[in-house]
Symmetry: C2
Subunit: 134 residues, 2 copies
């Protein structure tokens, strides 16, 4: 399996920083949950472990989604786009995807000449993160 | 309106190249159609014209989606994520989003240890682009 994964990784065109944008979409509802970044290791880990693992650009570290919040994304399917430089993760999101406590990160909509918040937090960040985030 | 759009643009965090990733999603079905990039001008034009306009990194030019193929994306709503560095366009896609003639760009799925094409072209690229692409 690992040889197959290595071959799969070779089909992905990582950018100059070794990254690709990764969209997480709730597999059954189609809700776009968040966008993060993946490097080669994080794609491999996601396929091997069956859960979304990203690369945190701010922390410069692998980031298994939910490792500190419990809000894990089970990976249902990984898809690759025509240019091979963007991946789409169909996931089953436990709880909320956004660090603000909202279900998804795209809670600001341009309506009537301004940004309007269209979703409320379902949980407070304090409850999500029992320990301070690194 | 243009003042409001300028203020909206100030809420977006463009990267070192002046770009943000932009996801186009079919507004009614939730299908993720494609990912492209937008600069400040392309966001402004999209809001002003009510259709998706991207920044082509390969051509280093504004790219009104559908300008050569006719496959226009009417903009139904623009959304911004929590960090302000990714935008989501809810669109109504005319025809197909992918330059390969497929409805969306994410037609390769990781299944059974390899990439599998899960969608066929609905139209040939030759029919899509009557003139050679710049």
């Amino acid at each position: 399996m690992s040889d197959a994964i290595e071959r799969a990784l070779d089909q992905i065109t990582f950018d100059a920083n070794g990254l690709v944008p990764a969209i997480a979409q709730q597999h059954d509802t189609g809700e776009v949950l968040m966008v993060a970044w993946m490097n080669r290791d994080s794609v491999r880990i996601s396929l091997e472990e069956g859960r979304a693992c990203y690369w945190s650009r701010s922390r410069q570290a692998l980031w298994r989604k939910g490792e500190s919040s419990g809000q894990v994304q089970a990976l249902k399917e990984l898809r690759l786009d025509c240019d091979g430089d963007t991946v789409l993760l169909l996931v089953d999101q436990t709880g909320v995807a956004c660090h603000t406590g909202r279900r998804n990160c795209f809670f600001r909509a341009w309506r009537g000449g301004g940004w309007v918040e269209i979703a409320e937090p379902l949980v407070t960040p304090e409850k999500l993160y029992k320990e301070p985030q690194a």
